[in-house]
Symmetry: C2
Subunit: 343 residues, 2 copies
């Protein structure tokens, strides 16, 4: 899922996002509740109409971003009180309020309100944090207005501790959700540890419900997680990278700001069908980046989202054909080959 933080996938028109193959976007409860507010968006017909995206939208619960407001938030048993990063105004999120906001936005997939356990956390801290999230998961379930076509996902926590992940998964499946997210990863534990936690956690979640790994990740993270049974992801990496000159390609990352591209007439990726690769040279993308032209982020974001969607489509196809191992081997070989050699 491309991330549309403030009711826009940065530097992309929604029609262009759809052209990349994206079928669902992520919206951020924290950002939208502050500006323009969930009530305003509801008055204007909901987030889909507001941002001109008729396809599904998943909203996060606001929990992750509120927890990140170091020194500006206070957690208690019922929720979190925090100050806006925009104007310092005070706000409060609880499971019930988070679900209410997501209803106001018109989310197709609502996320339970949770605490993303900081990393590293000792076992006791991780256990307390996870159990708080499990109580909030029950509160979220109670607050959610169930109706056909709309889904509520729970979020497994438990840091890197297998017993806590098991306890969390059991708690959530006991409550019952339409899909299950795996939270508290990609927070500094490293790829190997993340994949190890997925090895333990994914099998605990029902096979007939979507599994969603939150905030992940690099292309290799996606492939590794899909191989472990994950179905869905969200990450700002393709969009954020696109605004800093970094392209993510089948041959690994390419920074177009690098002087070696200044006179290179070749496309970023000769095999890619996105507008950045079919219409422009590396030299041009380099030029846009040096000149700080808005078209630079526009084209690189498009490329990155296109590449991510193509990667996921390739994984889906490989699964359907029973060729996932071969796909992953080819993916790894291409990434390892690295960028095109200089002309």
């Amino acid at each position: 899922m491309p991330v549309g933080t403030a009711a826009t996938v940065k530097a992309m028109r929604p029609e262009s996002v759809a052209e990349t193959g994206a079928e669902i976007l992520l919206g951020n409860t924290y950002h939208l509740m502050l500006r323009p507010t969930a009530e305003r968006i509801a008055e204007l017909g909901g987030l889909h109409r507001f941002m001109n995206w008729p396809k599904p939208i998943l909203t996060d619960s606001g929990g992750f971003q509120v927890m990140s407001l170091a020194g500006r938030r206070k957690i208690d048993a019922e929720g979190v009180t925090f100050q806006s990063h925009i104007d310092g105004s005070r706000h409060r999120l609880t499971p019930a309020r988070s679900i209410e906001i997501q209803h106001l936005l018109g989310s197709d997939v609502t996320m339970a309100f949770d605490e993303c356990t900081p990393f590293p956390a000792d076992h006791r801290t991780a256990a307390e944090s996870m159990r708080l999230s499990m109580r909030w998961a029950a509160d979220s379930r109670a607050a959610f207005r169930d109706r056909p076509g709309y889904a509520l996902f729970g979020i497994v926590q438990g840091s890197v501790y297998d017993d806590l992940r098991r306890e969390s998964a059991a708690a959530l499946t006991g409550i019952g959700f339409d899909g299950y997210a795996i939270g508290g990863l990609a927070v500094g534990e490293g790829q190997a540890e993340m994949l190890r936690v997925l090895d333990v956690t994914a099998p605990l979640l029902p096979g007939d419900r979507p599994r969603y790994l939150m905030g992940v990740g690099k292309p290799a993270d996606l492939v590794g997680a899909v191989r472990r049974g994950v179905d869905m992801f969200d990450c700002v990496l393709p969009t954020r990278s696109g605004r800093t000159g970094q392209a993510l390609t089948r041959r690994g990352p390419v920074n177009v700001r690098n002087a070696r591209h200044a006179a290179d007439p070749r496309p970023l990726d000769p095999e890619c069908g996105c507008p950045a690769c079919t219409g422009y040279s590396r030299a041009y993308l380099h030029h846009l980046s040096k000149a700080e032209e808005i078209l630079g982020p526009m084209l690189l974001t498009w490329h990155n989202l296109h590449y991510y969607q193509e990667l996921m489509a390739g994984l889906r196809e490989a699964i359907a054909k029973g060729e996932l191992d071969a796909f992953a081997a080819r993916f790894e070989a291409e990434q390892a080959a690295g960028d095109l050699p200089p002309l």
Copy 2:
């Protein structure tokens, strides 16, 4: 002509520029000679291929922007020596070099190298400046490699002095150009004085060659100038305004940052067919602007270019039907009516 300063119409993909109806772009010799350099663009196949714009391109001569480098440029009889605003490096432009650069870029319409006379200028200063430009016009003509499908335009100078405009027009028509630009206007003289100079100058230029008013302007300037026989314009106003939240509409300018739009579900202009007006509310455009989202400039630039192209198409159609006066009267009435009243 939308302005594509640094080989990009800011915040627009070239396909989108074409969708607005634009048939020709302006590129800036000054900017491109400094970065990425004309030689680099030539190596890469020319400006059209570099920026992925297959339709015609007009390039200015670099004169106007070089003259604007107060304290960083020195004019002599043969040309101008100046320092780059990017890195302070020294460069020189002469008529021959300006034409060479425009050839390297692959310009369809090349502009003669001239001095845009500062405003205000006394008669003597304006005369000296104009006569320098006329010598440079002859030098530009001599340097231009004439070939089918490519054009060289001369530029009338003479500030606000009728006799100097007449002398300049006579000098240029004596040399002979494929089109004639009117320079040295929209530099602070005000609309009434600009239109008065056009009343004097436009009839001096051959009726079977395009007349191009450089660096103009507001919608009312375009209508006033077309009524006086001008065919072509370039201006950064639609693109620059689009990046500061200002929309130019048939009912006058609308600043979407204004709080009165914050909850307004109506489109910017209900009669406009551009993506900004057909896909989004004023409330959303306001939100993008407050959140400083790149999509804001993208959508407003598109709207502004669309409006300018539609205005010019309307003027062409009115001329063809012999209804220019009626068109201008309707235009003025709509502009005077002002923006939609608050809900």
